[in-house]
Symmetry: D2
Subunit: 242 residues, 4 copies
């Protein structure tokens, strides 16, 4: 899943997708609307390079006070982001979420309290988990990568009946630079971006995939004999102010 | 999720759906094609009665020897049934699945070995779990309800790169009678039914919902103040041989 | 297409679908969300009986003054109801629509003027057309069945950049009783019902299918050797005030 | 609709989409799976440049003798390509199609006979129609652009219960170079490409959009005050043999 799509927050003006050595690849759209590419990697050295030129905003919308949307008023398409998923066992986090958000107005402010709690309590250590671990495990370890912090944030939101989803992609000035993962929560009748690793207020996000958690939006799912990734590198540059 | 749909295995010739006291209900189709009903239950006593007259087959297809489908040859629509999900942590079961299916031909025979292993090793105890537990937990407890055995079966199949999904619905002559859950695995280019609780060979299955696991196909998801189910009853009768 | 679905305007509490002699039938959902049934009719006498118990409202929403939605503000899902279709050649009706709606406020009032014009100028003659004819043909004949008047209404709306779609189904107290067709137009951020045959203000509509025109929502499409319909009968009764 | 997608017949390795002056554009996927871009063009000069690097095959599959698929065996997703549409009034062409295909084996050979008949009888005159005209009109004029010949071919196929759809895009070595339109017919369990303008046997096709006819896959649909296209230019170069 390496081909970002244009949407209401980003416009793809240029992209390329190189596979070498060249093998046939097939693209389809998954249940979440993401473009996915399927291919059989040949034996031996193999690489994929993609690049994209995207217009995004410099700053993200914030909405302190944006209200909680009662479940009966949520759009149908948002409902399954309330359900527990592989790495977000939201059915086990209600008590903890209630404590973290005590005293907050229902809605945006609850999610903001969760984001702050994650930033303060869970150590962000790039490279600290090789395989995805679940929100319960992240909470036990008190440490994780961007994906792990997001999983815990999502589980906490959903346990409060706030729809939440994982986004994977790129972020300008991420330190250290790599692919990134953050989360969105649905309050005040739209999705808002949250990022426990670095404040989301500065914008510069490029979304590649959306889903319930990393099981849905892995950069790649590999089947068959084990492969050994030799290198994964991401680079994000600012081109110009439009 | 209480309205079965006609599909290639079942034909709905008659159904009713009564809500009392009457409240507005809204129906939509989820990502998996299931019909879902949304409603706000009023305070006080509240009941839903549904009934359906369905044509199904008396016996289910079996296919010993049906081959494993290599991942590159799977249809796009089946791919996400390979991924781990809330209650089926297939990313943690590869070794166990390999042991259970040792010596089996790849494909149908592997799934059959898993079904047999579940029937022999995991005690089916109706009512033994109130809330859904995951495959890892079921494997620790060595006991479970139909849903739990299915979750473990699904996790084992997926760990072998065999797509598998949960089905909830009804089954003729289930003992004790209740709503039921079983699983399907995709081998030999189609879905086959497996049921670790009672041999699936006799047919009489009525599917109400399909999904990755019980998170997707709960009979109901309830949000808001706790509700206390007073009674849940299912009844399946044979009407006639067509 | 004989199985109505519940939606925000109607709730199906009971239904049956009988095919005699019994043959296998398969159901699927088309691009517009309608449930469609496929079957191979046997040689000889063959009949289908369906019935449904539906809750609908007694009166329909009217919204004089509801504004035209500029095309850039229409939801994506509504856009293709702006395009011409088999029986609604909206690309040829702009001048006529402009004359009919001269002096009207943009939006609901334009559609209302079109509905009135149809009711006054095109003679509604049940049984007057055997096969669907297009809006251009209806306009030449100045006469038609409910489907024909609706097609002309849809073509006129779309030519003014107002999304419009055909609905087929049943209507309480239709004279003479038969299956019915009417149209909906999207103004003021939602769909409103219009019916040039009998004022839509009284409600009692049961929708079975939605589409761009009768090509999408034929009650049945028949392929193969010609069949001779012996009888088609519809009956709509009021059961009770809920 | 100017952004081609990768599919089983083509792989997009590089593309760009420039709008000048820059205005916000929004992308969505329509009912047929095409990527569509929405934008409000500013007053004054305005241009869109797109480019794409695509891997396609040098020659297209041919399948003389590939059988007609009986309607009951067609996949659900193909069924609505049997229905008449705005510019393909297939409900009026059965007799003519029967005559054109007299003596042919059912299936591929019928479609090939239709393609040959179009190439021989309908004069291909680039620029001969400004606005889309329908199959009936094309048949009366006996002349048309690539889109018109395709519409007539589609109407003829559908009248014989062969699913057919319009494809718009680019073709290598088209004379004179422009955007192009051709058609596909579903026989022998898959779609095959046909082109009445230049034999389809040489390949070099890049599909941008698929639909029932030009109403679904217009390069652009424009609403509001009339715009005057100053220039439309297409250019297709061969990059290399992979």
């Amino acid at each position: 899943m390496l081909r970002p799509k244009s949407n209401s927050e980003q416009w793809i003006s240029r992209e390329h997708y190189e596979i070498s050595p060249s093998v046939p690849a097939f693209e389809y759209t998954d249940r979440y609307g993401n473009l996915c590419q399927r291919l059989v990697a040949p034996a031996g050295a193999f690489s994929i390079h993609t690049g994209t030129e995207v217009s995004v905003t410099d700053s993200l919308d914030k909405a302190p006070g944006a209200p909680f949307v009662e479940v009966q008023n949520l759009p149908n398409a948002v409902l399954d982001y309330l359900l527990p998923s592989r790495f977000c066992e939201s059915d086990r986090f209600w008590q903890m979420a209630t404590e973290i958000t005590a005293g907050q107005a229902l809605g945006y402010d609850q999610v903001f309290a969760i984001e702050q709690w994650l930033a303060n309590r869970i150590s962000y250590i790039p490279g600290s988990s090789d395989v995805p671990v679940s929100a319960i495990e992240v909470n036990q370890r008190q440490t994780g990568v961007c994906r792990d912090l997001s999983h815990l944030g999502i589980a906490l939101c959903r346990s409060l009946s706030i729809p939440a989803r994982l986004v994977v992609g790129y972020r300008y000035k991420l330190e250290p630079m790599d692919m990134h993962a953050w989360f969105e929560a649905y309050v005040g009748d739209r999705w808002y971006t949250f990022d426990a690793v670095q404040s989301a207020s500065k914008g510069g996000y490029v979304a590649v995939g959306f889903g319930r958690d990393a099981a849905d939006v892995a950069i790649y799912n590999q089947f068959g004999p084990a492969v050994y990734p030799l290198e994964q590198r991401a680079d994000v540059k600012r081109l110009r102010t439009p």
